[in-house]
Symmetry: C2
Subunit: 349 residues, 2 copies
């Protein structure tokens, strides 16, 4: 078994069971949940992994608002009180907030204990839980603090999705669309064939998205180059997400990335020769999934300012990953402030 491997469904549970059987020298096993996954996901999880009987449960509050150092310190303290050591294991059972944060906690506790991710949201399955990025927010800056650190394994099982609200499902869908756009035209084609899309195809679509992601991060684990293509839609998307955080227009991550992808598809037409016709197609398909969010022109400036804090930026220049074609993406592209405002205007058109 290679570190960071992703296993699916019942096969995944079997891998996890084997792993626990073969590693019985863990001094203690901890399961990190939030109050939602504790109620909805823990019981089926324990049923599938019957071997896991002796464990300590650590429960945190759900939501991005709690993805901060305060929650992390609480988990560090709890691990300390419960006698966790370097030979303990942490199983993160939850969405992206929980797997990002749990990975960071495990990677920094006593300079590193092992962890396993069991994502319970679509977003976390196709994105957050794989690839070794761990992190928390600092103030309103998303994932400002973190380390690169691979989980022992990731178990992806779509059964958890039945408890998700539609809005959360859609949030994950945005990243899947992204995977198609940046690296897999066939995946994109399947995702925009709305008439023939149903739940039965979900498993294979998830698998395909994970395959794209893993291929990219394996080539470039610490984002020196290629991995940056995963940031398509994210420079503007993150800024929009941050801007509306804590307002009544609060957006889910994928909803913000949907906006970002439309705006950055437009930027692509300026920078990489991406066809305007393709940009319009991207916009049309995404808007079918994601109803338009009203972004007043007077908010553009503030959103623009927020793009400057993006982790991808260096030396104060705002950096983008932009489409060259459907299924192909460039990175280290730069855009001017005016162009970024035009891209937001394109989204609003």
């Amino acid at each position: 078994m290679e570190k960071g491997n992703v296993y699916f469904s019942d096969n995944g549970y079997q891998e996890l069971t084997d792993y626990l059987k073969n590693n019985q020298n863990f001094s203690k096993i901890f399961v990190l949940v939030d109050s939602n996954t504790s109620e909805h996901c823990l019981p089926p999880f324990l049923q599938k992994v019957g071997i896991l009987k002796d464990y300590e449960l650590i429960e945190i509050e759900p939501g991005e608002d709690n993805k901060n150092i305060h929650t992390v310190v609480g988990i560090w303290d709890t691990l300390t009180e419960l006698g966790a050591d370097r030979k303990s294991l942490l199983i993160n059972l939850g969405g992206g907030v929980l797997t990002d944060m749990g990975g960071f906690v495990a990677s920094t506790f006593k300079r590193g204990m092992k962890f396993i991710n069991v994502p319970t949201s679509l977003l976390s399955m196709v994105d957050a839980s794989t690839g070794g990025k761990t992190g928390i927010d600092l103030g309103n800056l998303k994932n400002q603090i973190g380390v690169f650190s691979l989980p022992e394994m990731v178990i992806v099982s779509s059964e958890f999705l039945s408890t998700l609200e539609a809005r959360q499902m859609r949030s994950g869908l945005a990243e899947m669309i992204k995977h198609g756009l940046i690296a897999d035209k066939y995946h994109w084609d399947r995702l925009n064939d709305l008439d023939n899309l149903d739940l039965s195809s979900l498993d294979s679509l998830i698998k395909q998205s994970v395959t794209v992601k893993i291929k990219v991060v394996t080539e470039d684990p610490t984002e020196q180059g290629l991995r940056k293509i995963l940031n398509f839609g994210h420079t503007i998307g993150h800024a929009v997400e941050t801007f509306y955080m804590d307002t009544d227009k609060m957006l889910f991550h994928g909803e913000a990335i949907a906006i970002g992808m439309i705006a950055e598809a437009y930027l692509s037409t300026l920078k990489t020769g991406f066809e305007m016709e393709d940009a319009d197609k991207v916009k049309k398909v995404i808007l079918e999934y994601f109803p338009k969010t009203e972004i007043p022109k007077e908010d553009f400036k503030a959103i623009l300012d927020l793009t400057k804090h993006d982790k991808k930026n260096v030396s104060g220049v705002i950096s983008f990953s932009l489409l060259e074609d459907i299924g192909s993406c460039a990175y280290d592209c730069y855009a001017l402030p005016d162009e970024i405002e035009d891209a937001l205007a394109y989204y609003m058109e």
Copy 2:
């Protein structure tokens, strides 16, 4: 240049100068100091590294009391405000508290920016600044939180030592004695030949200690095995240090390790066949440098309890690295509570 390399004195400054010349694409350079090193060490440092003109200074409060997540958050926030990004560089100019903490800050900021350590205390020169352990305390547990992460380089220059108090110098000396005891009999012999020890030999003694440390950590960077020998004296030493923290008997790190080495030399006689005669010699030499600290018998229990939190422990068993001979050390040795109390009694005899 290999990551983590240690360079000495003027040669070190030349290496740093060359490094900065060859890496002019750093978006920004930050220098982390505390109020002591800002006053005493920054001016000579800047004089030696004339090329470093454009930098931002970040100043923190000195001392172990401030080696916590609160200070770290403050530095993260300051870096954010000053526009640090992944292509920025952090130069840590200070003692072990500062280099440990600065390394942790850099390794977690935006999932990692580069850092360089310029240790200004003897302890930090021969121990903390090299080997890639970064960390902070959690509550009263030392280095409970951290990551393994190598600095770009370490510059060791003994000129800073002239501003240190005798007690701080001695604190570093304990780790040097340890290096001799665990891996280099000649180094130990030189260090206990007190009559012929003077400041002029200090440079070569520091170099020898760093050589021992680097040899060990290069073989085992993440402390899976051999590196544990560097923990000789530290299981009991850390517990004693923690126990007297915030009391009027507060001990410097090296002072506590001196106690730990004497106690663990005694444990060695029980566990590895280390000669009692050698243990007595270790005790005699160390007590010449480090006057005896009164540890009342009624404190033994509480100190014993604290050894249980040591990061080296797994599965609740208290783990030690113990001398087999002068210049040779075993690891993963276990001792019973009674034996640990006897070891403290041996120190007090």
